[in-house]
């Protein structure tokens, strides 16, 4: 045995060889004597070893799925399934979520199967999604911090205004508006007349929000008017927001704007000649793109830019944008996969330290919220892929291209956010400020970015 293992590449004798070949090929009987037992079957792995195996398997599977090698992907998935679990530790849960997403992606090659299983439609109901969002708010403070920063920004922009119109493009929870009501009611010059126009896909959510807010406004004696607009953001007609000329307008958007990027098909990227090319992003990554779409910085006429232009035309006093700080919009699957793996690993870690393993709320967040996002990023393409997260620098380019200028978030807001983050039990949450924007981080990995913009100003 000693001689066999003498030099570098011993193809035949090591069982580990078989392990590494297994995910990549349907093993042709492998090679020599050693039985192909992967390490996790030979003995009980420690959690970190298991995690590393999972990572390796996931990457193998993603590479295979991206290249269309479905058998290899299937083999890898089988291994992953024996190691991962939605009820295990953070790495196992992440792996389970990504494995499901990869499986869905692989199944795309058989559209009959997909349709028979009603695959694209199987997802959380609106009520479940709303519950998952609420749990995420409760368990992790990111979106609350972002909402507070947004409120502070609106408050500062609307100083001394008597009538304030806030348009929420979706995503903000009612708690954020309740706090805004409190902040406005506490103004030294008294509360303004607040008009809140909220855009949301589902009418029920809007109705509930309306009831809660009008009751609170009544109690605080803030003149308040709530205008619901039932619409998806992609289909929103800016005129339906009924913004009066000359009124003080604030626009907030929490994790919504990236959906607008979905109209840019994978095939066209950002090459400036995009108009209405047909989507054929279903073919995996055998694409004709000559360069990574990430390289395109200059925004072109696309739905997102048109929407931002329309927003700019409303001349808002402030636009606060909260987005995921990650590049999940690359065309090649492997690139997206690696980015997403890191990003959601951080989020799952955060949940791991925020709630016990048996927590129902945590499971809901992982399954109905984060899991759905992962599925969308990995398994969908073209107009179906709505979770097109991009980092703040790209959003900055887009906003500036549409005519907005950056408004730095106030130092007071930063102090507030920092103090809030420190007030929590665990110290993983950090708030980083850079060029006037906030990055809400978990252990040095930025998760969300919050930035504020203003429309035209002439003096």
């Amino acid at each position: 045995m000693v001689q066999d293992e003498g030099s570098s590449s011993s193809v035949t004798s090591s069982p580990l060889h078989n392990f590494s070949t297994m995910p990549l090929h349907t093993s042709p009987g492998g090679a020599a004597a050693a039985s192909p037992t992967p390490p996790w079957l030979a003995r009980e792995l420690r959690s970190d070893e298991r995690g590393l195996c999972l990572i390796h398997l996931l990457l193998n599977c993603a590479a295979a799925a991206g290249a269309g090698r479905l058998d290899a992907a299937n083999a890898a998935l089988e291994h992953i399934a024996s190691l991962a679990s939605p009820d295990g530790d953070a790495m196992q849960r992440v792996a389970a979520a990504f494995a499901e997403a990869l499986a869905r992606r692989a199944l795309r090659a058989w559209p009959g199967l997909c349709r028979a299983l009603l695959l694209p439609r199987a997802g959380p109901t609106p009520a479940e999604l709303a519950a998952a969002r609420r749990h995420f708010l409760d368990l992790c403070p990111f979106l609350r911090l972002a909402g507070a920063a947004a409120n502070q920004s609106v408050l500062e922009a609307m100083e001394s205004e008597k009538i304030v119109h806030v348009v929420d493009l979706g995503g903000a929870d009612a708690t954020q508006w309740l706090e805004l009501l409190h902040l406005l009611a506490a103004r030294p010059e008294g509360p303004p007349h607040l008009r809140l126009t909220a855009v949301h896909e589902h009418r029920d959510v809007l109705t509930q929000t309306a009831m809660a807010l009008t009751k609170e406004a009544e109690r605080l004696d803030v003149p308040f008017q709530f205008n619901p607009v039932v619409s998806r953001l992609e289909a929103l007609d800016v005129e339906s927001l009924r913004v009066k000329t000359g009124e003080a307008l604030a626009v907030t958007s929490s994790l919504q704007l990236h959906c607008l990027l979905a109209s840019d098909d994978d095939t066209s990227g950002k090459d400036g000649y995009h108009h209405h090319q047909s989507s054929n992003g279903k073919g995996g990554d055998t694409n004709k793109r000559q360069r990574s779409p990430e390289s395109g910085v200059s925004p072109t006429t696309s739905r997102a830019d048109a929407f931002l232009g329309a927003l700019w035309g409303l001349s808002p006093k402030v636009v606060v944008v909260t987005e995921q700080e990650a590049s999940h919009n690359a065309a090649p699957l492997t690139e997206r996969f690696v980015e997403a793996l890191n990003y959601y690993a951080a989020l799952f870690d955060c949940l791991e330290s925020a709630a016990p393993r048996g927590s129902v709320e945590r499971a809901r967040v992982e399954r109905w919220l984060l899991g759905e996002e992962v599925k969308n990023i990995v398994a969908c393409d073209g107009a179906d892929r709505r979770e097109r997260h991009e980092r703040l620098d790209r959003w900055t380019a887009r906003m500036e291209g549409a005519g907005f200028a950056r408004v730095p978030l106030s130092y007071y807001a930063l102090l507030q956010a920092r103090r809030a983050a420190q007030g929590l039990g665990c110290d993983g949450f950090k708030v980083r400020e850079e060029k006037g924007a906030f990055f809400l981080c978990w252990q040095d990995r930025a998760i969300f970015s919050v930035s504020a913009w203003r429309g035209r100003r002439f003096d």
Partner: protein, 524 residues
């Protein structure tokens, strides 16, 4: 990308035809959509206030609109022409207020309607020439005056102090600050405090009484706030109260701030109208604070919007956690109030804690939502030593990918590390991948993959002891026999030798680091 916005300044003479024709569109929308290409027009005050700009040359009759003048001219058998506004050529016009201090003087806040800007100017910057005879209210715009006189005296609101209001909003605003109301609610606290005291820690306070107390509590807060806190309005005080009631864990985490909260609530609880010395407030009402703390937990569903702030939403999942923290909380509050009470005896601390609280509203909410649960669960959960977070595992995989020879998956592994490590927004995921790609060109042989994987497993073993202090728990057991070590690697001793050959230095160091003396002979 800023469109050009020409500004037309029109100086007013006697009655020149106005630049903007007032021909009405078939059905004019009141709130027209904002148009970035709109023409911004700044008229002088004289133009705005002029009523009859179009004058008939024959009889000197004045008209507000060009069209009306033209129709009048027909009567004089004068040549007349009705000008049509061309919908294609006409640009949307927006108007500026001539008053420089006005908000609408800025083009970004220009108003869209000529009549609107006229009325705005008169109302805000004009003289009030019309007066209602019933109630003595004055108006600058005739239409406002007419509208008011129709409703004047028809509907009345009467406050308890006797003041009459015709408008609902002014009535409500008055009521919030009215002294009479304050005096009445001054009779409430003894009842409230008593209930709180006896209610204590139990969650058994009845719904009705609790919400009633809460209501009266807030009314007291209103009144006490007006008398004591001076500049801070009542609403802010309520806001503070709500923030403080919503965050038990926050209090646990930051004793200094928390000491000011019982301080505050205590003040309101006592219902003292003149709270010159705040020290007195600290002594009572620890119990009251507890009692109040219990309320939010039981009364979530819609009883009071205070409680609907969504902290404890999420249903039954958090129930056990809620039940737990009264205990923590009791000790915390008791300790805090006792400990720090004496220090907050002055209004200076008052204002400071106000600031802290308004700053901490978010913190409280988040603390209640996530912090307490995390601190709670972190302390109670027993974590097995070799428990790496998913992010740490990814970093480690990337490191191992970096030390191992290149390959397809390795480039991805390296990309992992790079992707995870981007802290400042560079799209380094792509960069890492690219770097991996280039290095993967070096060799793509099957053998590379395998040796990578072997290295992976081995370096797992190696770094397990060498790098991770957390892993030390796992290892000692392995030291017991040579056999068990081999089994651990799953391949037998032969691999250890190949490790020496193939993987090179790091693993050897790792193996040495394992400290398994039994292996060394084989290594040779």
């Amino acid at each position: 990308m800023q469109p050009p916005l020409p500004q037309h300044q029109h100086q007013q003479a006697a009655a020149p035809p106005p630049p903007n024709s007032a021909a009405p569109a078939p059905k004019k929308k009141r709130n027209q959509p904002a148009d970035p290409d709109a023409e911004v027009i700044a008229l002088s005050p004289k133009t705005l206030l002029a009523t009859n700009r179009f004058v008939c040359e024959v009889c000197n009759k004045g008209f507000q609109r060009e069209q009306n003048l033209q129709l009048h001219r027909r009567g004089h058998n004068l040549p007349w022409k009705l000008k049509q506004k061309n919908p294609k050529e006409t640009r949307r016009r927006v108007y500026l207020c001539p008053e420089p201090t006005c908000v609408h003087h800025d083009p970004s806040r220009a108003l869209g309607d000529l009549t609107g800007i006229k009325k705005h100017y008169c109302r805000k910057h004009g003289e009030k020439k019309w007066k209602c005879d019933k109630c003595n209210k004055r108006y600058a715009v005739q239409s406002d005056w007419k509208a008011h006189s129709k409703t004047c005296g028809t509907r009345e609101y009467r406050c308890d102090c006797g003041t009459l209001f015709s408008r609902r909003d002014s009535f409500i605003t008055h009521r919030a600050f009215c002294d009479a109301l304050a005096q009445e609610s001054a009779r409430m606290p003894p009842i409230g405090a008593g209930m709180y005291g006896t209610g204590g820690m139990a969650l058994g306070l009845s719904g009705m009484s609790a919400s009633h107390q809460l209501q009266s509590f807030q009314d007291q807060a209103h009144s006490s706030a007006t008398t004591t806190i001076g500049s801070n309005p009542a609403a802010q005080f309520e806001h503070l109260m709500q923030s403080s009631t919503g965050s038990p864990a926050f209090r646990g985490a930051q004793p200094t701030s928390s000491s000011s909260s019982p301080f505050y609530l205590g003040g309101a609880e006592d219902g003292h109208q003149s709270q010159a010395s705040h020290t007195s407030l600290l002594h009572g009402n620890k119990q009251a604070y507890h009692g109040l703390m219990q309320l939010p937990e039981q009364h979530q569903p819609g009883s009071n919007s205070l409680l609907n702030l969504g902290f404890f939403s999420g249903g039954s999942g958090g129930q056990d956690a809620r039940l737990v923290f009264p205990d923590q909380f009791n000790g915390a509050v008791g300790g805090n109030v006792r400990g720090d009470g004496s220090e907050h005896g002055n209004s200076g601390a008052n204002n400071e804690s106000v600031a802290i609280f308004s700053g901490n509203l978010m913190g409280n909410q988040m603390a209640s939502g996530a912090g307490f649960s995390s601190s709670l669960y972190n302390s109670s959960e027993t974590v097995a030593p070799p428990q790496m977070s998913a992010t740490a595992l990814l970093h480690k995989a990337a490191q191992m990918g970096a030390t191992m020879s290149s390959g397809n998956v390795n480039s991805l592994l390296r990309g992992l590390g790079n992707g995870g490590g981007t802290l400042n927004g560079r799209p380094a995921g792509a960069g890492g991948f690219m770097a991996g790609e280039s290095s993967s060109l070096r060799s793509t042989s099957q053998a590379e993959n395998e040796s990578q994987f072997r290295d992976l497993m081995n370096s797992l073993a190696a770094s397990g002891s060498g790098a991770g202090t957390a892993f030390s728990g796992g290892f000692p057991g392995m030291d017991d026999s040579k056999l068990s070590t081999r089994d651990f690697l799953g391949v037998g001793g032969g691999v250890m030798l190949s490790m020496g050959g193939a993987a090179g230095l790091p693993l050897r160091h790792g193996a040495a680091g394992i400290g398994m003396g039994s292996l060394d002979p084989e290594m040779k």
